[in-house]
Amino acid sequence: MSNDVSNLEGSEELGGQKVRLYPVTRIQGRADIEIIFTPYHEVSEARFRALEVRGLDRLAVGMPALRVPQVLSRICGSCGPFHQLASCMALENATGAVLPAAAGTVRELLCWLWLAHSHLLSIIYTVLPDLALPMSDMAVRNITGIYMVEQEAVSRLFRIQAAFAEALGTVAGTLVHPAMVVPGGVSSIPDVRTLSHTAELLEGCEDDLRETLRLLEMLIKRDAQMTFTGTTLEGHYMAATVEGVPFPLGDEVTVKPFGEGEPVVLSHRQLLDGMVEAPVQWSYLVPVSLKGADHLLTGPLSRMNMGYGPDTKWADLECNKCVEQWGRPLDREFLAYMALMLEVIRAWEKSRLLLEEWSPAGGVACAAPEFSAASGVSVVDSPRGVILHSVSVDGSGIVEAYKVVSPLQFNCPMMNRHLSGIARKVVTGIEITDAVAQRLQFAVRAFNPCVPCGTH
């Protein structure tokens, strides 16, 4: 571990020196930020480097396909259920298994609950310290530091998180890596008592959600004045959609430019075919772009840019208020933090709608997939963005090839360009102060990077 953020590597690159910030804190996984200087001590480039790789996608090859979704859930401790879902959907696509309607509803409910819970953990442990104590000493810039001075605000967030956690525990059994989603459906359909308990838990969150939203709005306004450097996001944003509206299990992928230009709508297969992988020598992460869209953004801010649709009135209203205040497109990094909160509200509304309209619990849980030599592809929009899984199986149900693409791979080129832009404005020499290191990490955290997800 480096003792100092200004720890010089001493190696030569581009005729200048490199400074390494290691590790990047309050993100999922282990990574560093490398700042490369010109011989005149000006920033040439800053880049986020993934330092770990596990290769779980390679582990899937040769394994019985029916076992693979539970294994690939372990790609990520945060978006694991979405990897599991994507894996199941890719196998369903390969086998032609038709998902029973009740199983589809259960999956949708689980998606919203997982999404909200994942975002809540990000808000509590990542966002709140950045927004509430941006200039404080690192010793207190964390959730316990805030908890000791503003316990009620933190407790409100924890009450919401606990409600979603209990709802997930009730419906899916476990919070992380749940086994409930299986190829062809789900392993069981929740009974009426489970569903009504879930509805009660969610109903009790409304006041805490309102209070927390107001708090975050206030903090983001303040933070915008303190941290905005004039650097905006440029390129394209992307989300899984249904008729243009973001939806985690959407059957199409919409790609729109931040600037002028028409949106492009792709099928899951077209997304796979249009991807360009560009491995780099300095990171275990393989950046991915699309033909005609070199710099992509996927995740909460992308979905917020596309709008939430009229069925979630509260989230839609708040989204429109943001657009009024900040203008369209929403291309400032700190708005990603607002997007997290608005998606919690959207997920809360969506879950409640599903529970209100739930028709007969106890339908068919699953269709048993039958294997022939085939391949399948699927896309799921996870809390951190678009996940793509592609699988080939043989006639006996053994996996022959597997490919996983994660949100960080899509986001990496845009994140590094943005990080370089910020570094050029705030880094004034090879001595990196804590405030500068914090600003650079803020630029990274706005993309909510998940390294285990990105390198599988």
């Binding site: 100092d4 770990e52 582990l59 401790g77 316990t144 300095w282 285990p452």
Partner: protein
Amino acid sequence: MRPWCLQGSTGDERLMYIATVALCACGGCHNSLLAAGEPFVSLLSEHTISFSSYLFDRRTISPSDVVLATGGIRNHEELEIAREIERTSRKVIAVGSCAVYGGLPGARDREEPPAVSEGAGLPEMLENVMPLDSIVGVELYLPGCPPPPGLILESLKSLEGRYEPPHFDGTVCSECPRTVEVKPVKSWSLHPGCGVPEGSCLLNHGLLCLGPVTRGGCLAACPLEGSICIGCRGPSDMVLSSQLHSMYSDMVKYVTLSTASRREKVEKKLSAVLETIYLFTRRDPVIRAKVKERVPGE
């Protein structure tokens, strides 16, 4: 012997310096801990965080009374971090099956990692994944993928001296409300088909559930939802108790009995999915010895 002894150094005998460290891990164990929510943060606020890249912006590993370490050791950087933990911490809790057994990344022998340039400064991969206790003296083992939030929290509290450390010597089956009958099975599968009736043992429906040989403590969360146990908490005390037991051999025995099947037939079926039985534990030296002994060709 570790030189550091921080507890009590400030005059407060209860104050502990707590760290969390992630090695080769997916982050699930950390997320499970974070999902413990307010009780966890309340506990931390009574102590001091010495290091945690998930929670805290400090970049150096500082001396700690308790380290919650997740993940196995897969590259040289993780090896260095593990050595640093060993030098600077008093008690280490190995959280999750990756830390305890090596976990999923050790399920197969090492494959070639992605090509990177030598001067890039990326950590070089080790020959194979190692469990945490290959390098670090572990005070408490907490297997699971991930262990439930409450279990991690209870372990942490136990090191405060408030509770006995949690230990579950039973199996997942012992916590499962489903009832097993002795009846034949037509075919075996890893998939629940159109679903399994509530209350009925998954093995009775031909599902290869590892509940009979897997350590309990998870409240049988997966079988309860109709999905098979994949053995993420590793072998139960019974399996570990002698050289005559292994997950494979005990599973053969249990399935033979509960399904009134011929032993040879069950052995053949389970041999075909042997890798899935040892998904989480293959890198553990004790388990590897048993696998070699029990299953020819492994």
